[in-house]
């Protein structure tokens, strides 16, 4: 149990583009000098907030992206992975959060995909089914290997993935939030399996937020914060306050401006809304001139809530009241016409039209309002675009520059410009400063404050603690699809309290 089988040393990763290549000129580091080691037969829990770097670190170990600096040492020998396949071949089994199976074929065919058992040029179905069954039984899953994967539950599919990784002789497992969609019963089954795996000498890196779980199953804990090592702890010496401090204890910067004062008028009232059939109903309100922060872990349902309010997503039940009257059939178009704006999480996907220039992107949303007679007048359009470029300090050569040539921060500003080129009544922001440099962040905060002081009601989703605490007048914390806590500024925002809300 004491032998170290894996060492990650000095791992550094700069922010990267869609191809995994580092954007070194921006100098933003996602991971900085990370050290991590794993002993044989242990369950080593990796803990940290959103954006702390856990996924990125594991993606490096899993061969999905390369590190910019540092090395990986397995069983004493350095290892370099150029692909997921190489990582697998080195004995690392990655159980992702999103299921990695082909839903349309059966268990056995999935398990041997790529390694099919062949006899005389033809699949040896008998052998494949026999071996599948053995593997499944070894993880405690009694099921017919001829079952089509689509008909199995998430928990069951997870067991299949584990069985598949075991069949590839994986000695190191990475489990990313394995219990996220499991029932208590299924969690017990998984833990029993994990203990068995431990006894066979398999080591597991376990990413999770759930403290009760890591106490049950973990041996050691490593905490990451803001891309750096923040501390280690043995589970046997567990101290709650110390752990929380490692996760969030930081001095909050002073870049957040607050000159606005929330008014009394309610702009948005959400009553008993369920974002899905299985979650609890939630209720929130946003007042005029108020900045309401929405905190919670990735996957807690914040984006789903925002999109439900905005009308980009359907929800099973609940009422949305906007300016006192109920919204009957929310849709993005009707929301825009009413004065609701929504800055989405992923600007490349649904925030910007990458193939169009700055000017066209900025005027896209309120096109009908700018040009009531349906004809676009160039001079008016350039005037509108130029005003936004000036107000938000968008760095560009010309407004006819295609947005896909801009930096992340400037792209985000263009999206923002689009939404505020006409003053909205309710502005929903989903991670407004994600992946942006410090200066741009400060400018956006200033802008938010200015808008609020002009009466705009703002609902801000944020995974960044300092941002949440620094900008909000009130904070809702979401967990598993419903609201777990509501904190007023007067009560005092603390990182610990927010964190607790995310973990319920």
């Amino acid at each position: 149990m004491n032998e170290t089988i894996l060492k990650m040393q000095g791992i550094t990763k700069f922010i990267f583009d869609s191809e995994g290549i580092a954007l070194k000129n921006t100098n933003v580091k996602i991971l900085e000098n990370i050290n991590f080691d794993l002993r044989r037969g242990e369950v080593h829990v990796l803990v940290g907030e959103n954006g702390a770097g856990k996924s990125t670190l594991m993606k490096i170990l899993g061969g999905i992206i390369p590190p910019d600096e540092g090395e990986i040492i397995i069983d004493g020998a350095p290892a370099v992975f150029k692909s997921a396949k190489e990582s697998k071949a080195a004995g690392i089994g990655f159980i992702h959060q999103e299921l990695n199976l082909c839903q349309n074929i059966d268990i056995a065919h999935n398990m041997f995909l790529g390694n099919e058992i062949v006899k005389n040029g033809v699949l040896n179905m008998k052998e494949m089914y026999k071996r599948s069954r053995e593997l499944l039984m070894s993880v405690g899953f009694d099921v017919n290997p001829k079952t089509i994967v689509r008909n199995l539950s998430t928990a069951q599919q997870q067991l299949i993935e584990i069985a598949k990784a075991i069949s590839c002789n994986s000695s190191i497992f990475i489990m990313d939030e394995p219990t996220a969609s499991l029932s208590q019963n299924e969690i017990n089954i998984l833990f029993k399996l994990i203990k068995e795996m431990k006894s066979k000498g398999i080591s597991i890196i376990y990413i999770s937020h759930r403290f009760e779980e890591l106490l049950q199953i973990g041996d050691r804990i490593t905490v990451l914060r803001d891309g750096k090592n923040s501390g280690n702890m043995n589970v046997s010496e567990f101290n709650y306050d110390e752990l929380v401090n490692m996760m969030v204890g930081r001095t909050l910067g002073k870049m957040h401006v607050c000159t606005h004062v929330p008014q009394e008028t309610e702009i948005l009232r959400v009553e008993n809304l369920k974002i899905s059939k299985r979650t609890l109903p939630l209720s929130i309100t946003v007042k005029k001139g108020e900045i309401v922060g929405l905190g919670g872990l990735v996957g807690s349902g914040r984006t789903e809530l925002a999109q439900s309010i905005y009308g980009a997503r359907q929800f099973p039940s609940g009422d949305i009241f906007y300016m006192g009257s109920k919204i009957r059939k929310p849709s993005p178009r009707s929301s825009v016409q009413k004065g609701i704006a929504y800055l989405s999480e992923d600007r490349k996907l649904d925030g910007l039209v990458m193939e169009m220039d700055i000017c066209k992107n900025v005027t896209l949303t309120y096109l009908d309002r700018f040009f009531k007679k349906k004809i676009i007048f160039k001079s008016r359009e350039t005037g509108i675009a130029q005003k936004q470029i000036d107000d938000l300090h968008i760095m560009c050569r010309s407004m006819y520059q295609l947005v896909n040539t801009l930096s992340g921060g400037n792209q985000q500003k263009v999206v923002l410009a689009k939404w505020i080129s006409e003053m909205p009544v309710l502005l929903i922001l989903d991670e407004p400063t994600r992946g942006i440099d410090i200066n741009a962040k400060a400018e956006i905060y200033r802008l938010m404050d200015k808008l609020a002081s002009q009466g705009v009601a703002i609902l801000m989703i944020s995974s960044e603690m300092p941002e949440l605490i620094g900008m909000s007048d009130r904070i809702y914390v979401m967990c598993a699809g419903s609201i777990s806590d509501e904190i007023n500024k007067s009560e005092g925002f603390t990182q610990e309290r927010i964190l607790q809300g995310t973990l319920k």
Partner: protein, 317 residues
Amino acid sequence: MEFIIKKKSILLVGIAAIALLIAGSFIPYFYSANNLLNIIRQSSVVAICAVGVTMVIIVLGIDLSVGGIISFSAMVCGTLMKSGTNIFICILAGAAVGLAFGLFNGVMVAKLGVPPFITTLVVGQVAAGLALVLSNGGSIGGFPESYVFLGNGSFLGMPVSNYIMFVFVALGSLFMAKTKMGNRIYALGGNEMVVKQEGINTKKIKIIVYGISGLCAACGGILLSAQLDTVHPIQGEPYLLDTNAACVIGGVSLMGGEGKIYLAFVGAMVIGLVRNALNMLGMHPFYQNVIIGAIIIIVVAVSVWNKNKNIKESKTF
């Protein structure tokens, strides 16, 4: 409604049975062995083409070049035969042409990322155009007896065409169910990302699949020319609709990942049956196309609607 759609094979057999019954009650001699075997013979070209198109649809593609390849491959084969070449070589040449066109489709789709419907539409037109060029606008016919025997002869009471078709269907079905490649083709249609992560070359698989489809279309075209003892440059045109209809009716899902060749075969039989019955009732092929066109839309619309419903229910939130 959902349950029925899940058990596609049962639904299909049901349709076929009902169609048979209805046809039989209106048409004399419909149930004669002669007529039924003839129906199968007439459907054999569609069935052979459907073997390839099924595979293409499974990997989320479509093959609209079937018609053109039928015409051109048959034209190549026929032209060579008229100039006295060995029949075997002619057939091989025709098949090779179809394979080449198919592989070309595959490269365009897999390597260049061109949407399959555009690629195959254009390639089909090019093939059709080349057929016209090769024959100078006219048709050719009067092929050697041994060749015509393939399309019209009988062996042990069953048309030779049927044997040929069964070979294709059987080989195709076995290939998909029992080989490594077959498994990977289904997996690709189900979740391309997973297949890539296993280090499998998905581009190569797509190219092979389109190649097979071209090959099947060519063989279908050659058989057709043997049946008709003629090659007319636009002979293949009507087969585009029927082949795709056969696959769609046979439960091959346009969403990818689903579909059995032997069911597409049943689909081809159903289409052949419907056309035969309607012919005997005096309905002009044009009107038949209306019905088949409507059937395709309805079947696809239902399957898309069903799939969308399932997607909505299965997401975490």
